[in-house]
């Protein structure tokens, strides 16, 4: 039995080493397709900015209202020279990171408590459902009154937005862990804490990471809204300020920076996921 299996593995390896011309052709096609998709994506992006720029120059659109890539770059350079560009980016990013980290950690901790006590989970369920459907942004003014008009309110705003979703998502993950796996550790006499640490948490690890991914996006929403309401710094502040003084260059430039920062942070979490979630299907 054992020997047969060994042989099978060996056969597979030799098959991988010898690549037939047909297979090489297949790989080439796959690669080509990838390249075409990527270059089309880049092309659309470049075209978009070029058309925007040219349309502004030709007065097809009013660059005062729509701004223009070159004016956005100029605005960014000005901000950079003033030394405030990275200050604003830094504030917003920091608030977001703190918001989603606390939101995720609290969410997971609360989910663990609710997993532990199914009574508590049942009791609290309708409240969670209501809180989940409530637009958390409506609570903004409440936080400002309670906590004060500052970064603390913004962070609380960000974590509120992600908290309930995390609880529901992670608890769901906990509850969908294969009951047979739990039965297995029970046959060894595992107590509830052991069931949690040996099975439920490791089995739900991918769920927790994916909730982290959702939370990054949600926290950006919370932070930007928070900054709209109270802040004296940050990208949300720049956007609101730009709108108020009718400087669309500032608004558009800030939105662009925001988009890049959000995308980078999301990629960071994706990278973290790759690092932490072991892909066992690969040799």
């Amino acid at each position: 039995m054992f020997k047969i299996n060994r042989k099978k593995v060996n056969d597979k390896q030799t098959a991988l080493q010898e690549i037939s011309p047909e297979h090489r052709e297949f790989l080439r096609k796959v690669k080509l397709r990838k390249t075409i998709i990527l270059s089309t994506q880049l092309l659309i992006l470049i075209l978009f900015f070029v058309v925007w720029e040219v349309a502004g120059d030709l007065k097809l659109i009013d660059a005062f209202i729509t701004s223009q890539p070159s004016r956005m770059v100029k605005t960014l350079i000005n901000l950079y020279n003033e030394g405030s560009l990275f200050y604003h980016i830094g504030i917003t990013c920091l608030e977001t990171v703190i918001g989603f980290t606390i939101g995720t950690v609290f969410g997971i901790v609360i989910a663990i408590i609710l997993w532990w006590s199914s009574f508590l989970a049942k009791v609290i369920e309708p409240y969670l459902v209501v809180l989940n459907s409530l637009p958390k942004i409506a609570l903004g003014p409440v936080f400002i009154v309670w906590i004060g008009a500052g970064p603390a309110s913004i962070i609380v705003m960000a974590l509120t937005v992600s908290l309930v979703v995390t609880i529901l998502e992670v608890l769901n993950g906990f509850l969908s862990v294969d009951q047979e796996k739990i039965k297995l550790v029970k046959t060894f006499g595992a107590n509830r804490l052991q069931i949690l640490t040996k099975v439920v948490l490791p089995a739900s690890f991918p769920t927790m990471i994916s909730s982290l991914k959702i939370n990054v996006g949600l926290s950006w929403v919370g932070v930007i809204v928070g900054e709209f309401l109270v802040s004296k710094g940050g990208l949300g502040y720049l956007i609101v300020y730009g709108g108020q003084v009718f400087q669309l260059d500032l608004v558009m430039a800030s939105v662009l920076v925001l988009a890049i920062a959000a995308a980078l942070m999301y990629q960071g979490v994706v990278y973290l996921e790759k690092l932490l979630v072991r892909d066992n299907s690969q040799k």
């Binding site: 047979e180 796996k181 029970k186 046959t187 490791p202 066992n280």
Partner: protein
């Protein structure tokens, strides 16, 4: 040899909102040390419930379960349980999977670690100990699951449809494999299956249960003429067919 497992007048009732279900009724069964007993029955007759009762995962509504003469009260190290699938944790290496039971029972020490490594070595998994379950074949995974069960050194093994997730060919090979390991480690085994051939080929006795509520319909002493008793050899014995037909009739299957 004495009776290692004794079931006395076992009855089991499940409660649900739709009413109560009598799963088992009036079960009396003794298993001797070193014996291999199979339990067959129509689906839903409470076969698996019976194993859960012996393992201490469930408490019977009526009657008592004795292991080595003592009443079962919760799970114990005396009993090892093998489930339908291998349920190796894919976030743990084979070695880490195999020591799971030792971790949980708090008996992981230099001595038991060495024993586990020896088991892995004896049963040809030593060089795979740092691999992950997905890198192993179905048969090897099942063997790793058995070693995980053996690691805590149970006297009795409960096999709950332990082979039914495998394809037929693998299953025959794994039957052979697991049987020889169980015999070599000198364990008492109780196998629940719906596969009549499997039950005869592996067991010293086959217990036939009736439809729900499950009661014992008959117990067959399996006596086969073959040189060396192994599952595959058993299937070739002349008496095999005779047992098969008798059990098939007793199961009284209608479609």
């Amino acid at each position: 040899m004495g009776n290692i497992v004794e079931l006395k007048n076992i009855g089991m009732i499940y409660h649900s909102l739709n009413g109560e279900i009598i799963a088992l009724e009036n079960i009396n069964l003794s298993v001797e040390e070193g014996e291999f007993v199979s339990i067959v029955g129509p689906s839903g007759c409470g076969k698996s419930t019976l194993l859960s009762l012996i393992s201490g995962l469930l408490k019977p509504t009526f009657g008592e379960v004795l292991i080595n003469g003592k009443e079962v009260n919760g799970t114990s190290n005396e009993v090892g349980y093998m489930l339908q699938k291998d349920h190796l944790f894919d976030w743990r290496t084979i070695y880490e999977n195999v020591i799971l039971g030792l971790e949980i029972t708090g008996t992981l020490n230099a001595g038991t670690k060495e024993k586990v490594l020896k088991l892995l070595d004896t049963y040809g998994l030593y060089e795979f100990k740092d691999k992950y379950p997905s890198q192993l074949s179905g048969g090897m995974r099942q063997r790793a699951a058995l070693i995980r069960t053996l690691a805590t050194d149970p006297k009795i093994l409960l096999l709950d449809e332990a082979f039914s997730a495998l394809d037929y060919q693998t299953r025959l090979a794994v039957n052979e494999d697991i049987y020889s390991i169980i015999k070599k480690e000198n364990k008492t085994a109780i196998l629940v299956t719906h596969d009549i051939a499997e039950s005869i080929s592996m067991a010293d006795r086959v217990v036939v249960l009736t439809k729900r509520p499950g009661t014992i319909k008959n117990i067959h002493e399996i006596k086969l003429t073959c040189k060396k008793r192994t599952p595959l050899c058993s299937r070739e014995a002349p008496e095999f067919r005779h047992y098969f037909n008798q059990i098939w009739k007793e199961l009284d299957v209608h479609v």
